[in-house]
């Protein structure tokens, strides 16, 4: 437990240091923040333009998709905010910067995740929250305790699953330094996937993101339950509540992958 607390503290200290650095060039910081907000909004503008031409996509109405969009955006946004820079691992190995981090009296994972920390990355969760609030307002749902629970579950387990993907897939870079782009297909590609209703995608893809990379548990399955929609895969209802277990398993697997990678790492000594 003390070990974990020290990992969090060292992350916080390093993050605070990087945050001060990011605000040094003020104009650039403001422009970059504005750009981040616009970048995240682009996806939603595309959705709006699509719904300019139709009132249903894959059988879903815009506010229903808004629920998916908001929860997916919060899940990847919070994970990226807290530890997204871990994907630069391969670059750090190549330049030798990782060795410097390993010499510090703090966990390497905390240091790598805190690197280049900036408040700018709050743009995505902020924009996604706005869309989520609008969607919840427009949907006019009949709330019951299980739906509230499912919503809370999505907001907590979603970031954990994406965080596990960031760390677990980045560990591949210990062995395969140039694999950075590959994980983007799972993380950013996954977030794009989850913004759209599952009914839009082919069955094989749905199977892959349920039993392979566990993306479906981030928001698809809980949302099906909240909206009372049928599951295109016809999975048992209990799966819709399984996100906490899946998130715990994913986080555990990511931790093991990171340790295995770190243990296998041999510096070039440069």
């Amino acid at each position: 437990m003390a070990e974990l607390r020290w990992a969090v503290t060292s992350w916080r200290l390093a993050a605070a240091m990087w945050m001060r650095a990011a605000t040094a060039y003020r104009t650039s910081f403001v422009l970059l923040a504005a750009a981040s907000l616009l970048v995240c909004s682009l996806d939603f503008v595309v959705l709006l333009l699509m719904f300019h031409h139709t009132d249903r996509l894959g059988g879903w109405r815009l506010p229903e998709i808004g629920l998916l969009y908001g929860t997916a955006g919060i899940a990847i946004g919070v994970a990226d905010f807290l530890l997204g820079t871990v994907d630069g691992l391969g670059e750090r190995i190549r330049t030798g910067a990782l060795d410097t981090l390993l010499l510090r009296p703090a966990p390497a994972l905390s240091m790598v995740c805190a690197e280049r920390f900036t408040l700018r990355r709050l743009a995505r969760p902020a924009q996604a929250t706005a869309v989520l609030l609008w969607a919840l307002h427009a949907l006019d749902l009949h709330w019951s305790w299980d739906k509230v629970l499912l919503l809370a579950m999505m907001l907590v387990c979603g970031p954990v699953i994406f965080g596990a993907l960031f760390v677990g897939l980045s560990s591949v870079q210990f062995f395969w330094g140039e694999a950075r782009e590959l994980q983007n297909s799972a993380t950013y590609g996954g977030a794009t996937l989850l913004q759209y209703p599952p009914d839009v995608f082919a069955r094989d893809l749905l199977l892959g993101v349920t039993f392979g990379v566990p993306l479906a548990f981030v928001n698809w399955l809980p949302t099906l339950q909240i909206l009372g929609r049928p599951d295109p895969l016809g999975l048992p209802v209990v799966c819709r509540f399984a996100a906490p277990l899946v998130a715990a398993a994913a986080a555990g697997a990511a931790g093991l992958a990171w340790r295995a990678g770190l243990r296998a790492y041999r510096s070039t000594g440069s």
Binding site: Y25, T27, S28, F29, V30, L31, L32, A34, A35, S36, L38, V39, L42, V45, V46, L49, M50, H52, H53, T54, R56, L57, G58, W176, G177, E178, A179, R180, E181, L182, N184, S185, G189, T192, L193, Y196, D199, V200, F201, A202, L205
Partner: protein, 270 residues
């Protein structure tokens, strides 16, 4: 004259070879482009199922549009990037002064490197998604063999137009010292107005007409339309002419901007 051409060809070849060193990174990138194309193509298919013939594309053309635009994404640097990254570090380090001293035209040098980079990336990060799309996901290949050289020409002009825009943005570094913020903002504009996210014919009427006249339309929308054989005979030359026109205008503006900028440069010795 012949000497000059030979020089720029050598520069371009050097850039081509430099990018070809990072094979695994390029391969990972090509996989990511393909994954995104699979996801986005499914969403397009859902939209076109609801609205067949939307924007003058049938469902198959819409899916092909996604695969071609993903194939172009990195090569035409729709997000920005390419030579911009290098130029930015040279602004920071002051090496930019050395570049201005070279007995080679500054703008021509960077255009040549960017064309070399684009050539390699079109080959791999363009070729792989296009092949995957055509073999497994029903992307429609051009019917007339003549379309292929026209498409390559259109892609070449797209890179030159994109270079023109990016060069102007990078020049702002002479005044702003850090062009990152402006670069991020123009990246957003470029993604949206190039038709990378959605064909410009799907925009609301007024906005669509404006977007189709702006230089960004020449970066993704036009090469995609050439590939899809949307226009025939002389009308294709009109499309290429539009691209050429913007390429020349932007190159000219870059020339003027460069002259103003070099007048401003103060080289700090030491």
């Amino acid at each position: 004259m012949r000497q000059a051409v030979g020089l720029y060809l050598t520069i371009a070849r050097g850039a081509f070879r430099r990018y070809s060193t990072y094979r695994m990174a390029t391969f990972s990138g090509a996989v990511t482009n393909s994954v995104f194309a699979v996801i986005l193509a499914a969403t397009f298919l859902a939209l076109w199922r609801a609205r067949p013939g939307l924007g003058g594309y049938d469902a198959r053309a819409a899916v092909t549009y996604i695969w071609v635009s993903q194939a172009l994404l990195v090569s035409v640097a729709a997000w920005g990037g390419g030579f911009q990254d290098e130029l930015q570090t040279r602004f920071r380090s002051g090496d930019i002064a050395v570049d201005l001293y070279r007995p080679v035209d500054f703008q021509g040098w960077w255009l040549a490197t960017d064309l070399g980079r684009a050539g390699f990336q079109l080959l791999v990060r363009g070729g792989v998604p296009l092949a995957v799309g055509a073999l497994w996901f029903g992307a429609r290949l051009p019917r007339s063999p003549l379309t292929w050289p026209l498409f390559l020409l259109s892609a070449l002009l797209a890179v030159v137009v994109s270079f023109g825009v990016r060069f102007l943005v990078s020049l702002s570094g002479f005044w702003l010292h850090d062009a990152e913020g402006l670069r991020a903002l123009t990246g957003v504009a470029s993604m949206f107005l190039s038709g990378m996210l959605l064909p410009l014919t799907l925009f609301p009427a007024g906005a669509g007409a404006v977007a189709r006249a702006l230089p960004w339309a020449a970066i993704v929308q036009l090469p995609c339309d050439v590939f899809l054989e949307r226009r025939h005979g002389l009308a294709v030359l009109g499309e290429l002419g539009f691209q050429l026109g913007w390429a020349l205008v932007l190159f000219g503006l870059g020339r003027v901007g460069l002259r103003l900028a070099t007048r401003k440069v103060v080289v700090q010795g030491g």
